[in-house]
């Protein structure tokens, strides 16, 4: 079978790519994609560790909860991005530097 460390290495790589995407992209939707990547890396960790506890099954259960949370986050974040686009005509996070309207 596949060891625990293989899963964790893949997940660490995915997390770091997501971090890079968040830090470099100048477009809120791509930043959101980076956040989703990091969330997926975390869920992969949960699932990989959950393989060793069949009775409580906490890993897979909280992986499901995390997926649902990510869906809720994305819906709200996209609504905010659409609103920001309506107001500022840009979705570059660097150019949105005032909170008041």
């Amino acid at each position: 079978m596949i060891g625990l460390s293989d899963f964790l290495i893949v997940s660490a790589g995915l997390f770091c790519v997501g971090l890079y995407v968040i830090l470099t992209k100048r477009n809120a939707i791509q930043v959101l994609i980076g956040i989703e990547m990091m969330l997926n890396a975390a869920i992969l960790n949960l699932v990989a560790f959950g393989k060793y506890d069949r009775l409580a099954n906490g890993g897979q259960m909280f992986a499901l909860f995390a997926i649902v949370l990510a869906a809720a986050t994305t819906a709200v974040a996209l609504a905010i991005i659409l609103n920001i686009y309506k107001k500022y005509k840009t979705i570059d996070p660097d150019q949105i530097h005032e909170l008041k309207d």
Binding site: C16, L23, I33, N40, A56, Y85, I91
Partner: protein, 182 residues
């Protein structure tokens, strides 16, 4: 090298390669569609970690829901966004991206270092689980296990997340409605 190992390395490679493509590509549409490939191969990794229900949920919610939502939002936001996106900076490795690259690589080194320092394949509780035979086997019925768990042990988080979903639904609908008068 068994079939499972080959599939695992294939899936892991596809995951990381498509993620890197998302990071490198300049066009938003291309990166969204490559993210689709990333999510599908991560679902494949879940299957190899013996979590088939989570894999199906990943496909249904992430690929069917979130990705379609992202595409939708981005197509609703009009042609000007697209035009703005095309004139981003050109090179993949420009000097302004160096700090981000450095941070990501250092994070990766720290993770790998932790993995080897803790000797992750010989964790005490993992060895105990394997010796007591409470680890997940390929033929153990995990879907019914998840169903039972949701209604017994994890009832409180289940209810909490349903309230949170309700709040997110109302919030998203409130945020994206058309403002009439103030």
């Amino acid at each position: 090298m068994t079939m499972v190992k080959v599939l695992f390395y294939l899936m892991g490679f596809i995951t990381l390669a498509s993620a890197l493509f998302v990071a490198a590509s300049k066009s938003l549409v291309r990166s969204v569609f490559m993210f689709f490939v990333t999510l599908l191969s991560v679902a494949g990794l879940y299957v190899l970690a013996l979590a088939d229900f989570v894999a199906i949920t990943q496909i249904v919610i992430y690929v069917g829901g979130i990705l379609v939502l992202i595409l939708f939002a981005f197509m609703l936001s009009g042609k000007e966004t697209l035009a703005n996106l095309q004139q981003q900076n050109d090179r993949f490795l420009s000097i302004s991206k160096l700090p981000a690259l450095l941070l990501a690589v250092l994070f990766f080194i720290v993770f790998i270092n932790i993995l080897f320092k803790t000797d992750i394949n010989n964790l005490q509780w993992v060895n105990k689980a394997v010796s007591y035979k409470v680890d997940v086997k390929p033929d153990s019925p995990m879907t019914s296990n998840i169903g039972t768990g949701l209604m017994t042990t994890y009832l409180l988080p289940f209810e909490a997340i349903s309230i949170l979903l309700m709040m997110a639904l109302v919030g998203a609908a409130h945020l994206s409605r058309k403002e009439k008068n103030g």
